[in-house]
């Protein structure tokens, strides 16, 4: 974030109906593709997310044995 300069005053004098600039469209497509890829990996990978370690001592459970942990993480 930077100080507002007069550049924003001059910025985009297109009408209200003009679409977003190209960099926004390209970034949006890339971001959407990455999110989809991540979702596919999460669905395919299965055991992921904050819930996978609910057995941690701090959350009231027992610490898994090293052998179990080795099996979990490959």
């Amino acid at each position: 974030m930077a100080d507002q300069s007069s550049s924003s005053e001059r910025e985009d004098r297109r009408g209200p109906t003009a679409g977003p600039p190209r960099w926004v469209k390209v970034s949006g497509i890339i971001a959407l593709a990455l999110v989809l890829l991540l979702l596919i990996l999460l669905v395919a990978g299965g055991n992921h997310g904050p819930g996978r370690h609910q057995s941690s001592r701090r959350y009231g459970g027992e610490l898994p044995s090293v052998a179990t942990a080795a099996h979990d993480w490959g």
């Binding site: 924003s8 985009d12 926004v24 370690h53």
Partner: protein, 176 residues
């Protein structure tokens, strides 16, 4: 809700410090996670996971929250606004997503820290500790923060629909 120039400078300085500090801390975290995954020295692996847990809670989380809070102050306290320019909006989304993922991931880091503290320095213990997820999360965070930094420096043009409407209203008000 415009800030005075002096307050704006102070907010901007705090925001840049917190954001760049967060970026640097993520780089250090990435180095620790790579060491934890690849090192052959049991003490290094154990120490890496213990320090990662500490770094996450004491450095990464406070810096991410500070970056988010000061970013909100900077944008809302200036004519940039929060939803007027695409680059500001993108930075906000990146910051919010990265902070939420970090807060959720702290649970995993605490678990890894617990395992590291309880693990004996044997070959079997090391196999149990090695986890690629900190490397993946740190690399993704680094990428996101580099994008946010680039957006902050270059400030690419582009007004949102809301920004265009606001600009149109302001021009109308200025006309005699």
């Amino acid at each position: 809700m415009a800030l005075t120039p002096r307050l704006r400078k102070l907010a901007l300085t705090t925001h840049v410090t917190a954001s760049v500090g967060w970026l640097g801390a993520v780089i250090a975290f990435l180095a620790l996670s790579v060491a934890g995954l690849t090192s052959q020295d049991p003490q290094t692996v154990q120490g890496a996971y213990l320090v990662m847990e500490l770094t996450g809670g004491v450095v990464l989380v406070p810096l991410s929250l500070a970056s988010l809070a000061t970013g909100l102050v900077c944008s809302l306290g200036s004519a940039w606004g929060l939803f007027r320019h695409y680059w500001v909006l993108f930075k906000l989304v990146i910051n919010v997503v990265a902070t939420i993922v970090l807060l959720l991931y702290m649970q995993t880091l605490e678990h890894l820290g617990d395992v590291a503290a309880a693990t004996t320095l044997s070959g079997t213990g090391l196999r149990g500790l090695r986890d690629p997820s900190p490397v993946l999360h740190a690399a993704a965070a680094l990428l996101l923060l580099l994008v946010a930094t680039t957006l902050a420096i270059y400030k690419p043009r582009g007004l949102t629909r809301y920004g265009l409407r606001t600009q149109h209203r302001q021009r109308k008000l200025r006309l005699p």
